[in-house]
């Protein structure tokens, strides 16, 4: 049912397309559309649902309302109420029943309306979703997707700005991906749906509509667990993902223009699995590393990245590694959230500290 061959096939070539050099090296011969991330995600869902009648979209307000961010626009109309389901208001119900649907051969895509409410489904995720393959020794599997708007930056109310990637990445059995732009969002969501295991797709809501990108007409996928170099450089490696990729790229420009520092930016795209090779190859080249994410610092993904660098490339380091993250507090209400989030200024000063060490 899941098309692993396709995944590997198209996935490997994709990385070259979007690899070093970034969007500038996209294949211009392909037909392209300028899409926001919301539209790109919508495209991925539409494509997969057309190809595979087992794919279902389920969640709160995903049907007639087309999702509170409109990611599911047009789906109810095209695929009907059996495949695009407005569920009762219960996150554990969405994910828990999706486990059963998986056992009956469906491929449910579960939407959590916001990151902060995904915790209401947590016992199902921990107790069943991530365990099913292992505990039944492969008799049953859970190829579902749990997607949710992720992170801060849109002046939302309480519980609507959470960054739970470390929480999910900590649960072996899950894969956790975080797109950083429309094109990779579409490819990653497709890969997540086709993946034979459960994948949590965290969609940075701050960039849902922040910019458009060229997205080819033909469906694309990417390998889950592989990152890309979003900007090549030689002086310091800045490792990040999700909405922070933009913040970091902005910081990299400032570092280049005002400080003569050439930063290499690694966009992980996936935090479980994590692209160990890419991280270490870059750090071995530059000898310096800064890790940036909006989630909490304590036990955050940044700590995992630092550990991998220390384990594999300690002797290549010229300076201590820096972390620029959200603080170990509750993300403030929106009037103060920008002070909590990493900013390009915070990234610049951390990068300079490592360079000037």
């Amino acid at each position: 049912m899941t098309d692993v061959a396709l995944l590997v096939d198209v996935g490997l070539s994709f990385r070259d397309d979007l690899g070093i050099g970034g969007p500038a090296r996209l294949d211009r011969k392909q037909a392209m559309a300028q899409l926001t991330m919301v539209k790109a995600l919508n495209l991925a869902l539409t494509e997969v649902m057309r190809e595979n009648p087992n794919v279902m979209m389920m969640g709160q307000d995903v049907g007639i309302d087309e999702g509170v961010f409109r990611v599911t626009e047009g789906l109810l109309k095209e695929f009907g109420e059996d495949r695009v389901v407005d569920t009762p208001l219960a996150e554990a119900g969405i994910v828990g029943s999706a486990v059963g649907l998986c056992m009956k051969g469906f491929l449910p895509v579960c939407e959590m309306q916001f990151d902060g409410f995904s915790y209401q489904a947590f016992h199902q995720v921990e107790g069943h979703v991530r365990r099913l393959r292992n505990r039944t020794r492969g008799r049953f599997t859970c190829p579902m997707v749990i997607r949710m708007p992720y992170g801060g930056g849109i002046r939302a109310i309480e519980h609507h700005s959470e960054a739970p990637e470390a929480t999910y990445a900590h649960l072996a059995g899950l894969k956790v991906v975080l797109p950083s732009g429309p094109r990779n969002a579409r490819a990653l969501l497709r890969a997540a749906i086709l993946d034979p295991d459960p994948v949590v797709v965290l969609e940075p809501k701050a960039i849902y509509r922040a910019f458009r990108e060229e997205v080819p007409d033909a469906p694309e996928t990417m390998p889950i667990g592989k990152g890309v170099i979003a900007r090549p450089g030689k002086d310091v490696t800045i490792i990040t993902y999700a909405a922070m990729v933009r913040t970091v790229l902005e910081a990299a420009e400032e570092l280049a223009e005002e400080h003569g520092v050439d930063a290499e930016v690694v966009d992980l795209l996936s935090v479980a699995p994590i692209d160990n090779d890419l991280i270490n190859a870059s750090v071995r080249k530059t000898g310096r590393a800064v890790v940036v994410h909006e989630s909490y610092r304590h036990c955050g993904v940044g700590g995992e990245i630092v550990a991998r660098i220390v384990e594999d490339s300690l002797m290549y380091l010229e300076a201590p590694i820096k972390r620029v993250t959200g603080y170990d507090t509750i993300i403030p209400f929106f009037a103060n959230e920008q002070n909590w989030l990493p900013s390009s200024a915070k990234v610049v000063s951390a990068a300079l500290e490592t360079v000037r060490f």
Binding site: Q60, G63, Q120, R155, A156, I157, Y327, D328, S349
Partner: protein, 370 residues
């Protein structure tokens, strides 16, 4: 071995007193002092006007996303009226009339929607919990507060609110189950406003009514016309008295309607008809209560005009106070623990440095290899 229908105990009463077309059941009509009736109306009007003001502030970008409560003014108010000061009011987010009656400062309410934590800081003299966003999660702590009241034998009662959508959450069921197993003084009010964002009530539960869920918990329920404040007053008094006298929880399903959008981020035209909204506008609790009071000669256009003017002035003052508020950007660190951890203190300094204040103290890093 007979095969029998099992008689299930449990009573579901339906209470309507003042219909939307002005018919009054004088036998059921609660007898409240005139001054109280007028005061209740003022709070209802205040709620409506504050709600409109907040929508206006949202459109001008002076507060963030706003969740209006238009059409749902009667139910929280009717319940709050019968609570004592030392009782507890445990809301979700659409109980503005109740917040005001209980004594929440208006500017605090605006501060919450304006993106400031201080909006969740209920004044110490008010026994209420803050606005609760994770749907139905408040039902669990409401049950806990009521349990505590029972253990303390302090005679207090807890009134908790959630929406029709909220009854689908595990938290609703678990909270109700605890409340009834431990027979705690809880009055659970479900404001059934027919919609949970775009999901209609009939897609939320296959039960004919929400009230009948009470039967499964082994308690009684009431269905009230939630847009009829007289009916709410009667039902709330009975349930609160019963809870106070050790009779345990009651579930009240208040039938009402969200006349406005879910929040300012929502477009209800996508999922519900104008005709439906119109039909509920005819059942609006505010003009219904106003006409009742006019018939009683407790209100007339002149009194109402003065009231409106007063409220407008109060709102102007509250908006000014709200906009004068200056948040402390470092307060995010101060309330995490009773005593700030060294790590948090360091991060606080780090933010100060980032904002151009003091220089961040560094953790010591060894500068030499080996």
């Amino acid at each position: 071995m007979p095969r029998d229908t099992v008689p299930i105990p449990g009573k579901i009463e339906k209470i309507e007193i003042l219909s939307h077309d002005g018919k009054l059941d004088t036998k059921l009509e609660p007898k409240l002092p005139d001054a109280d009736l007028r005061k209740l109306f003022r709070y209802m009007l205040f709620t409506r006007m504050l709600d409109e003001r907040c929508l206006h502030l949202q459109r001008q970008g002076r507060i963030g996303t706003y969740g209006p409560c238009k059409g749902q003014e009667a139910t929280p108010l009717g319940v709050a009226y019968h609570l004592r000061k030392e009782d507890w009011f445990v809301p979700s987010y659409r109980e503005l009339s109740g917040f005001l009656w209980r004594g929440w400062p208006v500017d605090r309410y605006m501060l919450w929607w304006g993106g400031h934590e201080i909006g969740s800081s209920i004044p110490p003299e008010v026994n209420d919990t803050p606005i609760c966003v994770p749907i139905a999660s408040q039902v669990q702590y409401a049950a806990g507060i009521a349990w505590g009241a029972k253990l303390r034998k302090d005679g207090t009662v807890v009134a908790c609110f959630c929406g029709d959508g909220g009854t689908s959450e595990g938290d609703f069921h678990e909270g109700m189950n605890y409340a009834t197993v431990f027979k705690v003084p809880l009055v659970m009010i479900v404001q059934n406003n027919q919609w949970a964002i775009s999901v209609p009530r009939h897609k939320q539960t296959a039960s004919q009514t929400i009230a009948q869920k009470a039967v499964a918990y082994g308690i009684d329920a009431m269905i009230v016309d939630g847009n009829d404040i007289l009916a709410v007053l009667v039902a709330a008094k009975e349930a609160i008295d019963k809870a106070r006298n050790g009779g345990g929880p009651t579930l009240i399903e208040a039938i009402t309607y969200r006349l406005s959008m879910h929040t300012t981020a929502d477009d209800p035209k996508k999922y519900r008809s104008e005709a439906e909204v119109k039909s509920w506008e005819a059942k609006d609790p505010l003009p219904r209560f106003r006409d009742y009071l006019r018939k009683k000669k407790l209100l007339d256009e002149k009194i109402e005009a003065v009231m409106e003017e007063d409220i407008r002035n109060e709102l102007d003052t509250a908006v000014a106070k709200y906009e004068q508020y200056r948040h402390d950007p470092y307060a995010m660190f101060d309330y995490m623990y009773a005593q700030m951890t060294p790590e948090l203190a360091r991060q606080k300094q780090e933010l100060k440095a980032a904002l151009g204040g003091d220089v961040a103290p560094q953790r010591e890093t060894a500068r030499t290899h080996g």
